[in-house]
Amino acid sequence: MIYMNNRKKISLILLLIMVALGLAYSYLAPYNPDDFSSPPLLPPGGNHLLGTNNMGQDIFSALLAGFRITIGIALITSLLTTFIGTVMAVLSAFFRGLVDSFIMRLTEIFIIVPDIIVIMLFATFAGPKVWDVIVVMTFFSWSRITRIVRGKAMVIISQDTLQYTLLLKGGLANVGKKMWPHLYPAVVTIFIQQCGRAAVYESTLSFLGIGDPTLKSWGRTIKAAMDYEGIFWSNAYLWWLLPPLLCLIAFVLALALLTFDFEESGRPG
């Protein structure tokens, strides 16, 4: 069903390494990335592989922390988002009628309302915790997924096999199980895309008062480097800005390569 080509293998291996780095982060990091006791703006050297930032924090440790934080947040968020989005879509397709129009109106509201305004409102009440970032991202992303998956589910449910199950008074669970193989490629694609989106979205949110702004995710290391006024005056960008940027790009690119393969394998014929 899903064939393995080289490109896919490479991206899969890359992702696995990244996840492994994230898991082993606390054993690998030479410093606590929050510790600012080193001298500021050291160039790369023996004690600090990638030097230190303007606060005197070890950049290499922050980069490693990013494997856990950025990838972790991305995976959890997209898992939640995709799950909620898909369940809503299947409910919509199964019950149709009132349930369907209710869910569709709901998604429309989410699509119409500008998320930044609601996020800013939410920020005044929310605490600065990582979980709030995940909740907010999920809250604003599921509706998009519901819209996409519902369309597919509607087509699938009208197919003969599913109609037959319905005829036999198959319940929601039954129908859902039958639909899954057909939905699977689309859902996985969405999941992977969502991962990339979340990795980038996260860094923006902390600056709207949601999430811990001192968390050492890649997005925030990039932002901190860009905010430092002297970043392009010296070579500091080479070891401060570039590494997290490359990691983020590699992560999203690896995900993207996987997505294309799933799209291909999902194609009929």
Binding site: F36, P213, I222, A256
Partner: protein, 552 residues
Amino acid sequence: MKKTLLLLLSFMLLYTLVLAGCTAADPLPNISVPEPIDERPPEEERREERILRLDEQNLGFPSVYTVSPRGRGYLLTSFLFDTLTWKDEKGIVPLLAERWEVSDDKKNWTFYLVKNATFSDGTPVTAEDVKFSYEYIQQHPHPWVSLDMVEKVEAVGEYMVEIKLTDIYAPFLTEITGNVPVMPRHIWQDVSDPHQFNTPEAVIGSGPFTLEQYDATAGTYVFAANPNYFLGAPVIDKLIFSEVSQPAQALANGDLDAAQRISYGEAMRMKEEGRFTVIEGPGFWVYRMYFNFDCPEFNEVSVRKAFYHAINRDEIVVKAAGSGAVPGNPGHIHPDSEWYFPGVKDYAFNPEKAGSLLDEADILDKNGDGIREFKGSPMKYELLVANDRVNEAEMVKSYLGDIGVALEIKAMDQQSVDSLLKEGTFDLALNGHGSFGGDPVLLARFASDKASLGSTPSVTAQGGGQWVDKEFNDLFSRQIREIDYEERYKQVARLQEIIAEELPTLTLYYRKITFAFNSETLNGWFFTKDGVAQAVPTVQNKLVYIRGTWGR
């Protein structure tokens, strides 16, 4: 082929997302400047139009009530509206009032207005306009000035105004007459909601400039010189302010002629390079920690003292403020101020002492989770901070973590931080503001009773529970009525002692102010004594545009 294309597209999408998430790389808005109308007499030589471009934030429509309550917002309106008195680098200078007298009891002030000042619609500025403006501000509270010490304003002649005070008010000429904008009566008398008044009429004043254009979305201001200004026409023809994300870069690229919002590090580098003239001024801008006095633990002075001992101010200055600041004085007043009293209690960085202060107050970590408990509840707080000063917050979090106080950092945009502070919706906060130099009336922000005259700009105010100290309140209202400098200094020194002893706020640092400009354009920039108007620490004093010179 299609796949490669998709790959490329996704890469581009990612790149834009990263950029959007990180910094908005906003290019300079394209401002079309219409051809100037030459109104000068023909004998004057025709010259190229002199346009000066500066960076500034979007501070709202620059009329008296619609502009941002921040100091620099007020300065934008000062280009359009004049006050009776003003300040330059040496101190108070006449503006709309060419001279003034005060009665022996120091309560009756008489101002003689200049006779050649007109509003930009051609109407002359008269005593009636002055009287009207003061009364209007009394009826419509202004975020910047409070006139509760003004009993009556009388237009005695066409160009003579008498202001009667309820009590002696020592900083009257700087804080009141140097701040109340004179608005044209014939326009404002029909305005009932000045906060919504944003028509072209709302910016008719007697100032050196007129507002040619304000783009609310781009945050761009175009001011045109007022050729009929009573002190003489400005040396420049157009003054343009726009929001720029990297002012230093924009200056280097020639997109700006002068840059105000540059960091200390950038300024020092530019100075080294020597392409631009860089000036450094007194940093009457303070960064401090706010306590919410609705939390019972923050009413314990030992907690506040412990916090101050736990925070390494010198390290914050070096690492978070990039050495562009001076460490804070426990007595709050800036060491460069003429009112500074050096003899206050000091709080050297000493985490052990901080810990033992808390131990003595019986604030201990009884359950052993690393966080102390105050009357049974763990000392965990949210630290509110503006999103451009997260580094400071990160350091404070670590310092207080070392003495068993857990903080969570909540970073928001500056406006939200200001309003949450004003409402008192916070536990602990870090925030900075100007309005800090000059007259010790600035200490009004720590005086809790309404009996004290005057007020500081609302942007420095803090909501929720207040720190209350009777001696401070009494002394504050006494010194504000004291005319003798020596005597007043003694009282102000005592106020600083009380602040250092009680720590209603933790003064962390004073930012140094820098300004870089291209000396081929406008020259003659100066730092106003004690800051422009009510102590705004910038070079944006409108007199620069009158007294300055163009080119080398």
